[in-house]
């Protein structure tokens, strides 16, 4: 596991992505805080959010907008092995392939936590002054908000783990990144809104990975903007759903990719 961790931090990718994540979230967080505050002031904020809800939604951005970053770094941890054929050396030193995959999943957690801390910090630093100065307040001492912040960090780490599991299923690096971008930026948001529009399917939407993550945090930008039709899972269930995604993908990876001949 130490080895897997060293693999992650001995290349440049991890901090390049981390910087991108921080910059991106700071920008979006600041911009969104500003627009919510301004919208509220202009009294056109029927759909918009006020007070603690506004703060929670913005702080929850780490997950709502930023989750693509831990997913990508997680998937890279696996796909890089195949792209550069380091998988050969990795399996030479650890021929037990289940152990190899497990180590990779666990080793990604610390980095995922770091991503979570940095991402959450970036959002808070950019948006809290706006909310405090122009809006209803930053609410940084509110217990609910602190929960959102902490859980955002946990969720980011879980996303990184799901990324590793996904990478073990789809080992082609380019394909993995394309699929992650397509699903996170396009397929899932649409699916959540679309499923939410049909009563019969409404219950399904909350089991989508992004919705489950929102459920774990307990705040959803997407959920609150579409009129609150999409209900979220309770936290414990949301956590289980996220772990299940990681577990199922990893199991598929273990019995397809990692059962094949290497090389």
């Amino acid at each position: 596991m130490v080895a897997e961790y060293r693999k992650l931090v001995t290349t440049r990718m991890w901090w390049v992505l981390l910087l991108a994540l921080a910059a991106y979230l700071a920008f979006i967080g600041g911009a969104l805080a500003f627009s919510i505050v301004v919208a509220a002031e202009n009294e056109q904020g029927d759909l918009m959010l006020h007070g603690v809800d506004a703060a929670a939604s913005i702080y929850g951005l780490t997950n709502a907008i930023g989750y693509v970053f831990p997913l990508v770094i997680g998937s890279l941890a696996m796909t890089t092995e195949f792209r550069h054929q380091t998988i050969t050396q990795s399996l030479l030193v650890e021929p037990r392939r289940g152990v190899f995959l497990g180590a990779k999943l666990l080793a990604t957690l610390p980095l995922g936590l770091l991503y979570g801390v940095v991402a959450t910090a970036a959002v808070v630093l950019a948006s809290a002054p706006v909310l405090a100065g122009l809006g209803d307040g930053a609410f940084l001492t509110e217990p609910d908000i602190i929960e959102v912040l902490l859980l955002s960090v946990v969720v980011t780490a879980l996303w990184a783990m799901i990324g590793v599991a996904f990478g073990s299923v789809l080992t082609n690096q380019v394909a993995a990144i394309v699929v992650i971008l397509a699903v996170t930026q396009f397929v899932e948001p649409i699916a959540r809104v679309a499923l939410g529009a049909f009563d019969a399917l409404d219950g399904v939407a909350k089991f989508l990975p992004g919705a489950a993550a929102d459920g774990l945090i307990g705040a959803s930008l997407l959920g609150s903007m579409d009129g609150g039709s999409a209900e979220l899972l309770p936290r414990w269930a949301a956590l289980l759903v996220m772990l299940a995604y990681a577990g199922i993908l990893a199991a598929i990876g273990r019995f397809t990719t990692l059962r094949r001949d290497i090389g």
């Binding site: 080895a3 001995t10 990718m13 550069h84 030479l92 037990r96 090389g263």
Partner: protein, 297 residues
């Protein structure tokens, strides 16, 4: 130190309709350097990958000592392997590459630093592997293989990309390992590249074993060739015909195959044929190799 015996027992491997390895059996003994030879596509790398548990054989089994590679507690401390010179992350430094694998092998960062110096990459230790030459990658691969100070060493085409100086260095190193009692197996598609390095040879072609013996026994299979020149070519020609030798015109004389120089000289002397040149063309090991690998169908 006594290295483990490597055993390949009745191994076959099919990829789709292609039979890459077919009923292959041989053993590699400790205390010697064994050359695993065959033309490109003969199944060498596939066999090594099966030996190291990366690829599963369709039939048969491969053992390192008393059990398959993957069933050893810390396999990298039993067998050090370098399979291809290209399998490094280009964005990692040479030293970081070693440090990544050190924990699972169970060695310290200090050992990584020592090894990178040992293989002559000290000045390049903190440069990214992406900028390494082929020879440097070979050296880094070797350093990776040696991390766990393993009693057995398996190298796939280790001489590829090494400069002549590097090849001599590698040869001495492998010789020293074998003298310490380790098991050393190196593959190559060029016999001459390793003929000064190996004690034993295992030759395969089209997935099948065609020859396994000591290098000396392989040399015995070679036909000697003698070049002979006389001011009286007609007399020399008659002598060859009388003796039943195969002789072909070559340069300004004859090339006699299957007969050593001493025998040609003695025959010419007793027949009174004057010779101006009598030279042994040495043992054509490469010819033996080509004959063995070409004729196995």
């Amino acid at each position: 130190m006594t290295g483990p015996t490597l055993a390949v027992e009745g191994v076959a491997k099919t990829f789709g309709a292609v039979r890459a390895v077919d009923d292959l059996s041989f053993t590699v003994r400790p205390g010697a350097v064994t050359g695993f030879l065959g033309p490109n596509g003969a199944g060498k790398t596939t066999t090594l990958r099966m030996l190291l548990g990366l690829t599963r054989p369709t039939a048969g089994r491969l053992l390192v000592g008393d059990r398959p590679y993957g069933e050893h507690e810390r396999p990298a401390r039993v067998v050090g392997a370098a399979l291809e010179a290209s399998s490094f992350h280009p964005g990692r430094t040479g030293l970081a590459h070693l440090e990544v694998f050190a924990p699972q092998v169970g060695v310290s960062r200090q050992r990584c630093r020592e090894l990178i110096e040992f293989v002559g990459l000290g000045p390049a230790a903190d440069r990214r592997v992406g900028g390494y030459s082929m020879g440097m990658r070979q050296r880094l691969g070797l350093a990776t293989a040696l991390l766990g100070d393993p009693p057995a060493i398996v190298l796939d085409e280790p001489a590829n990309g090494l400069d002549p100086e590097g090849i001599v260095w590698l040869r001495r190193l492998l010789r020293a390992f074998a003298d310490e009692g380790r098991t050393v197996l190196i593959s190559s598609h060029v016999l001459t590249e390793v003929q000064h390095t190996v004690d034993d040879v295992v030759i395969i072609a089209r997935g099948k074993l065609v020859h396994a013996s000591s290098l000396a026994a392989l040399a015995d299979l070679a036909e000697p060739e003698t070049y002979v020149e006389s001011p009286d070519p007609a007399a020399l020609q008659r002598l060859c015909e009388a003796r039943g030798w195969t002789a072909a015109a070559s340069d300004r004389g004859l090339l006699v195959t299957g007969v050593v120089a001493a025998e040609v000289g003695a025959a010419a002397h007793s027949a009174g044929v004057e010779l101006h040149q009598l030279a042994s063309r040495g043992v054509g090991l490469e010819d033996v190799f080509l004959r063995l690998t070409g004729g196995a169908s």
